[in-house]
Assembly symmetry: C2
Homo-oligomer: 265 residues x 2
């Protein structure tokens, strides 16, 4: 197993090398994943044409399900608060934003809630998004829209997901016309615990819908599936997500690094 | 105030620019701080002669006071556990280690305890260090050794701090002869809440003692004071530490980035 893993890693590094001379580090895998998925982040470092520029005093809001929630303290309402930001990618990206953009007086919130599907974001959107008046709104939603249907606990289809998502963003842009959107691709790591072949190809349609909507709404798109797929070359899928859906600390940081690629440095 | 801050930043960037052409980003400030303090990390990127190399299966232990503790869940004993790692620099450095060194099967622990002085580390050292058998041991201790004395709640001097610290490391190396040590400099940000001119020059002697001990024990040394001083050029001291002693999220990430500079990439 260990030997196989080493061999897979060597083959991967060989394939991924640029001109055969340079192996990719994990951080480079994130950048390569972003570029391969055609996210508009293909520019070399320094050229950040399509990245989101954070203005002085910008409000950044993370929205989503349990992956975003990550055990946050829902009693705490203040910005830039460690417990309110949870213990996942949103916390890690927030720490990196506050560190890299120290002079900008950012206010960062996490309002992800475990178990949410897109219609449940809509139910709490006035309070948990519109009233916060984000300048940058990051949404990661969709794995439950599929998963709960797969488990027989929800009857929404991918069409419902797409329609609800589109309606949510139409409503958002009507009330916050200048908001800059970041849409994360729903992802799952196949053959890790909760996830098996029965998820496919149906789950892929949710990923495609999120990407379609990102393009339609001119959002920055984070190709998490591609990034988790690539990360499997350096450690097994279960290293990045113990149940196939929820990231480990390493997986959360993989996501945070990918998230940061959407922001102008 | 805002204008002054802008001017200070401009002046700083001017002074810090290399050949007048390149301004330093915050991440570069960390590297520059490490180099300026003569930590043996002066090599250009890629030359990592003096950095700590993490071996396959390495155990990494963070030890210290409240800055390391950062609200960790003390009931949870497992390695690489989010709540057990707290919400400070140790958590952030752990996430970065697990991400960057994904293939190495690292086990990372945080056993910092709020309020601890060096003699209190000694009291719990068998259980909270020796039995964990760290390959890499990171210690940040000393601000309470001074602060509690300053407040009249402790009668240890800097000599006691130095002697206790030396005895602790002698004992550690006797039981763990191959452990690689990282010693963090105690730091404080003057004129922020808990910290004022009355701390100086006495507090500086604790910083000097930590550095002296790091040299004596061939430990990697993290010059946190220099790093916080430099960070003040891009945002006020209270941005990095709201009370002068405990870091904000931005300050914790500043520390984590500095910590990562001690490790071979």
């Amino acid at each position: 197993m260990h030997h196989e893993h080493r061999t897979a890693r060597r083959n991967f590094l060989k394939k991924a090398s640029i001109g055969g001379a340079l192996a990719l580090s994990i951080p480079q895998i994130v950048s390569a994943g972003m570029a391969a998925a055609g996210t508009g982040n293909e520019q070399p470092a320094g050229s950040a044409r399509s990245r989101i520029k954070l203005k002085e005093g910008a409000v950044v809001l993370f929205q989503g399900d349990s992956i975003t929630d990550a055990g946050r303290n829902k009693e705490e309402q203040s910005a830039n608060n460690g417990s309110a930001l949870g213990g996942g990618y949103a916390f890690l990206a927030a720490c990196e934003l506050l560190y890299r953009h120290a002079g900008k007086n950012l206010s960062i919130y996490n309002k992800g809630i475990s178990g949410n599907k897109v219609f449940q974001l809509a139910e709490r959107w006035d309070q948990d998004c519109i009233q916060i008046k984000p300048d940058v709104l990051s949404i990661l939603i969709g794995v439950n829209d599929y998963w709960h249907k797969h488990n027989g606990n929800y009857d929404g289809t991918v069409q419902v997901y797409r329609d609800d998502y589109r309606a949510l963003l139409d409503r958002t842009l009507k009330q916050l016309p200048n908001v800059q959107l970041i849409i994360g691709e729903p992802f799952a790591v196949n053959r890790v615990k909760a996830v098996d072949d029965s998820w496919y190809p149906e789950f892929d349609a949710y990923r495609a819908a999120a990407k379609e909507i990102a393009t339609e709404f001119k959002a920055a798109f984070i190709p998490y599936q591609e990034i988790f797929n690539k990360a499997e070359r350096s450690a097994p899928g279960s290293y990045w997500t113990p149940d196939g859906v929820h990231p480990s600390l390493a997986g959360a940081n993989l996501m945070a690094h990918a998230w940061m690629e959407t922001i102008e440095k």
